[in-house]
Symmetry: C2
Subunit: 123 residues, 2 copies
DNA sequence: TGAAATTATGAACAATTATTCAGATATAAT
DNA sequence: ATTATATCTGAATAATTGTTCATAATTTCA
């Protein structure tokens, strides 16, 4: 029988440093926020979406223009713009038939730039 | 016949704002860097890895401890630690049988925090 | 009203990815 | 040497994700 009443854990090894685990557990951001955070970064983790974001740093653009710029189908771009919009990274305005997209967040540039700093530091 | 000698484009719509596209093209970060950047953010875009990163903000930990903390198998954690190491986000030191992992980058915290700011701004 | 153009969307498919499983390696202790 | 422990690794599986295709919705213009 187990020493305590905790359900079977998937973890298949012994706890080596219980004190460390306790401390980390207390200091850690709650699981729900961490899941949201991973979902958020997932949006940055696709080359099509990163290119769209980067393009929108320069100027607002319509779907057609982005598709042309990236040499991809309008449909593919539209799908990705929806993902970006759901993550509140872009916003859009409609002018007749044309929908113009632009960035909707000041943090995007900061996150983007910090990422660039990191990959530029390759030794 | 096409107006110019460019190969067939996947883009299936007309260019509406050629001037904008030209301007954006000039200002855009080169494709190679953008691909690397997407690869880099992909590493943040998984809840297991985000949790590992967050845990390591508090303290260095061995594989066993991380597995126990997150209630996952040692193997799963080991696989993800490899991904994190390849992205140069964590480093490790060996002490006998035990391998201790810690963060290997000052930018990680900045990127993590900016992400948190973003998701905390939900209206 | 009808045709053309732009964008959005659902379903299917292909590709990628995380985890599990089984077993290998490496170190320490007996 | 043998056993036990911690970690790593390759292959298989399950789940997720990006793109394509076909089509719908919306707006403009004739």
């Amino acid at each position: 029988m187990a020493e305590n009443n905790i359900d079977f854990e998937k973890c298949d090894c012994n706890v080596i440093h219980e004190d460390v685990i306790e401390k980390v557990k207390e200091e850690m951001t709650c699981e729900e926020k961490l899941n949201d955070l991973a979902e958020f970064f997932k949006v940055f983790g696709d080359s099509t979406r990163i290119k769209i974001i980067c393009a929108l740093f320069s100027s607002e653009m319509c779907v057609c223009d982005i598709a042309s710029l990236l040499n991809m189908t309008q449909s593919a771009i539209s799908h990705q713009l929806r993902v970006l919009k759901q993550a509140r990274l872009v916003k859009n305005r409609k002018d007749g038939k044309v929908v113009y997209y632009s960035l909707d967040d000041e943090h995007v540039q900061k996150i983007f730039d910090q990422g660039l700093v990191h990959i530029n530091e390759r030794r």
